[in-house]
Symmetry: C2
């Protein structure tokens, strides 16, 4: 009967002893010895009823009678705390295991009203009275159950995909340390890690050693906003005190394919979106430098002051790389700040094979680079890098005495808070630093090369395949592969408004069916005059050629008869 | 000999079986059975050398030969992945245990140059080649070793202190889910949790049901920046497209004691810091409403347009609450946006005993409220709440087609991304939602009441104590207790420049010694014409009266003979 209770040992988790030898001889050594058992409800109940001695005896830890108030710092709360956290870890490791298992669905889709009504007892409403830790653990399970497995090998929906285990460990540690980046005082190690990592990134960009500055910010949109702010401070520092009234009419330039955050920054910072001039692109989505120069001249003729150009390294939809060198020539000629938005494409700087796509990036005044996208770092991790030291601080410093006391006992130039538009700042650096240590620069390079290889595989597979039509010709510059799927009923139908209208509805329909069946996820959108098409992107380290094959076949399966 | 290897069972962790009964009968039940052993290096080595059968056999998991590339998604990587994560959890749970142990130091202070030189092999530099997982685990230990234990019962240095176990579990889950708040599509559960939690917060503020809006942002400074942006959009929506040139000269008002983020927002958004008018306060740091009205009238006479007033609920240093009702009267009279910065004091809304300090908050147009401060939620968790629905969206929306497709199969009004100045947005809601479930509204209330009781205890203990001098008279409104410690050599010295100069140096000296000895941490700063004083704040759920006593005695011990 006890045999029924104990499943055959799971090779992945039973009776394993992880052993760690520490360099530092004064440091405690420790072991972790853990065994996990998963049982079905039935087996567990038969276990409960047995009353005899099982291999792993059930103790009195019954979470139904425990509450948050029983955990640390409660007196004698240590045992319950450890048991509770281990139970959570059990839930998380099971989730992780399943995430990488292709027989698991990517998601279990429900409409908002369904989840709000409470799925099988999953109640999202908050209440006045505490709930037991048992219920909290159930809530944790349910939260994961009804979520989306962004690390699943067949999740291709965003630029940020995958679940890096070392990065995840870094995040767990970060949240356990629960501190704030604004001063060295309370984040000494993280502040130094940030400094060293930013320096390394600047070196990779190609700026001279020991120069420059930067900060990790809450995402690429904020990093891009920083670039506009810093540029304004460089050319019109009096705007900081006197406002936009102190400057002439300033204009900014970015391509029509660029990320909408440049537009958001124009609105937020007081430039106005009308003073953001959109540049024409070629059929691949790359800025046409002659169009930039023409528009700069036109703006100057109107008496406006061209202040800022954004060149995108890896556009969101097409994955296009603007020609940075040619844009830099124009920026230098007209004394305009050059920002490179490499949120998506910056990662290619780590690849000797692909970094040429960002040639000229070392001529930029500032660069956005999101390790949480192409480098697989968990969300979020975005850097704004600035060539000239002092601007970030000058632009944002307000010298708050209660936080940045000049009379501390350590070198307060390490305090980073006054460079930021934030006050408190989340620790985004540790997971990235830890991944870099664990993979090495070469590890990132391999990941990036592999993703680009996979996208080339996809491109070559579908470019002449029946039912597929490419949005633009030629091998993609990044991992973005943009295509229409043409259902049987539309093949051979001549181009025209009718066909366009019908084609526009195909991708949303297929996507909806994908989500309902939970098999895979990929994005779609219109772009300019082009009706809805799929945008496949590959940043997921778990993806293989078989997953690409699966995606193609799944689109065909779902869309063939539309 | 094996007896030596195995320490007596640690009651907190040995042979415990956590049992969870799930409401949903279809859900798998699971058990976690874990045992931990910590051994000293010596014991471990003797164990290694024994060669016999120990209770928990050491397996082949030797991390010195494993690398990140051996973890999932690597083929057959599951076992190593689980072992690695469990080893990390062992490090973290040991850290958590020690965090709550008063015999552990708050920090082990080192100067930046010491850490950069490499403490006992802790090398912060990044390298081209990967390092073994053994080294990665050592790096994790070292990172925690040289950090600051912000959850330690004697850490009082910031407004955000403590380590809530349920919140921590929430963060671990959040990072495992590794998703993004911008669409319901990839964060269905989190998006709904955010919506319901914001609604609850608006109800607690006192706004009519079903109205209003809000979003979680990366910290109070950004939340405050939102408030200024939204106010501008409400009164001068054309600034979004035409820039600040489309508006008259706009002025903003905030107190000289308010948080510097209002000033940062004025600079960033193009108002200019000179157009932020500082209001006089009484001796307790509260805005004098008559001064606001006089300055509004003065600005109007100059032809400027008063647009925005910030009232602080809980100032950073004094913990003062501006009189919201009187300020609201003036704002209504002159048609000015009223923002309440309750980043620090907003938590008091959860307490029936203390919420009267925010009387009038329901008249505000927007409110900043940081659960990561007074409510003990792990960093970071800050909400900007807006009374009028539609403004957030109107102000920030750019309708990016690649992200916010209108033709999705679900109700896309649940997509939150176009309300934000960010594009991707970190999941800050889950830990807060989970804590609310676990503690209930009453749990937050108890925490807040307890912290305010403790600060009253501190105040009463030192207000007449020899060697202590209060910065302002009367019981603190929040948990901020501001005081000077007067060393023996300064007692009886008449007030004057000389005494002031010497007193200014006392707090920094004591603080430096505190950090060197690692016993406790508390902040200090000057304010206006007042020289450096200590600002004690209590938000740490682990703190007790004995810790307050300890702090007082520690200050006396370190400062007595200065």
């Amino acid at each position: 009967m006890y045999g029924k209770c104990n499943h055959p040992p799971d090779s992945s988790s039973c009776n394993r002893l992880g052993f760690l030898q520490k360099n530092n001889s004064l440091e405690e050594r420790s072991r972790i010895v853990s065994s996990f058992k998963e049982r079905t409800a039935k087996n567990l109940l038969s276990c409960d009823n047995s009353g005899g001695e099982a291999r792993f005896r059930r103790t009195e830890t019954d979470f139904s009678n425990l509450f948050a108030r029983d955990l640390l710092p409660a007196k004698n709360g240590e045992e319950q705390t450890m048991q509770f956290l281990l139970e959570v870890v059990e839930i998380l490791t099971n989730y992780i295991r399943k995430t990488f298992d292709r027989s698991t669905k990517v998601l279990d889709f429900h409409h908002p009203h369904q989840l709000l009504e409470g799925m099988e007892g999953f109640n999202l409403e908050l209440s006045d009275q505490p709930e037991s830790l048992e219920q909290i653990l159930v809530d944790c399970r349910d939260t994961l159950k009804y979520g989306v497995r962004t690390g699943h090998p067949r999740f291709f929906n965003q630029l940020s995909t995958g679940l890096d285990i070392v990065g995840l460990a870094g995040e767990w540690l970060t949240s356990t340390a629960n501190t704030n980046m604004f001063t060295y005082e309370i984040a000494p190690v993280f502040v130094l890690m940030e400094q060293l990592t930013l320096k390394k990134m600047r070196e990779i960009i190609g700026w001279p050693d020991r120069e420059g500055d930067g900060i990790f910010s809450p995402g690429g949109a904020i990093s891009n906003m920083y670039s506009v702010m810093i540029a304004r401070y460089k050319f019109f520092p009096e705007v900081k005190t006197k406002g936009m009234a102190a400057a002439p009419r300033l204009v900014l330039f970015t391509s029509e394919h660029s990320h909408y955050s440049i537009k958001k920054a124009s609105a937020a910072l007081g430039f106005g979106t009308e003073n953001l001039i959109l540049l024409n692109t070629d059929e691949r989505g790359r800025v046409i430098p002659a169009d930039l120069e023409a528009k700069v001249i036109e703006a100057k003729q109107k008496g406006y002051v061209p202040m800022f150009v954004n060149a995108t390294a890896g556009t969101t939809v097409y994955g296009a790389f603007d020609p940075i060198n040619e844009i830099a020539d124009i920026c230098e000629k007209y004394n305009i700040w050059l920002h490179v938005d490499g949120a998506w494409g910056g990662g290619l700087l780590m690849s000797r094979k692909h970094r040429h796509k960002l040639n000229g990036v070392e001529r930029a005044n500032s660069v956005t680079w999101n390790p949480h996208k192409m480098m697989g770092v968990p969300l979020q991790c975005s850097a704004i890098l600035v060539r000239e030291r002092g601007l970030l601080q000058g632009c944002n410093s307000m010298c708050a005495g209660y936080l940045f006391q000049p009379d501390k006992q350590y070198d307060v130039t390490y305090d980073t808070g006054d460079k930021a538009i934030q006050c408190g700042r989340h620790v985004d650096i540790f997971k990235f630093w830890l991944m870099w240590k664990a993979k090495g620069t070469v590890g990132f390079e391999q990941h990036i090369d592999k993703c680009l290889d996979l996208s080339a595989y996809l491109y070559n597979k579908i470019k002449n395949r029946e039912g597929f039509e490419m949005v633009f010709n030629g091998e993609p510059q990044h991992t973005n592969v943009c295509f229409w799927y043409i259902p049987l009923s539309l093949r051979g139908v001549p181009d025209g408004e009718g066909r366009r209208e019908r084609l526009h509805k195909v991708a949303p329909k297929i996507k909806a069916m994908m989500m309902e069946s939970g098999t895979t996820m990929v994005g779609y959108q219109p772009q300019g005059d082009k009706v809805n098409f799929f945008r496949m992107v590959i940043s997921n380290p778990a993806a293989t050629r078989s997953d690409i094959d699966f995606l193609i076949e799944e689109i065909e399966r779902l869309g063939h008869d539309l």
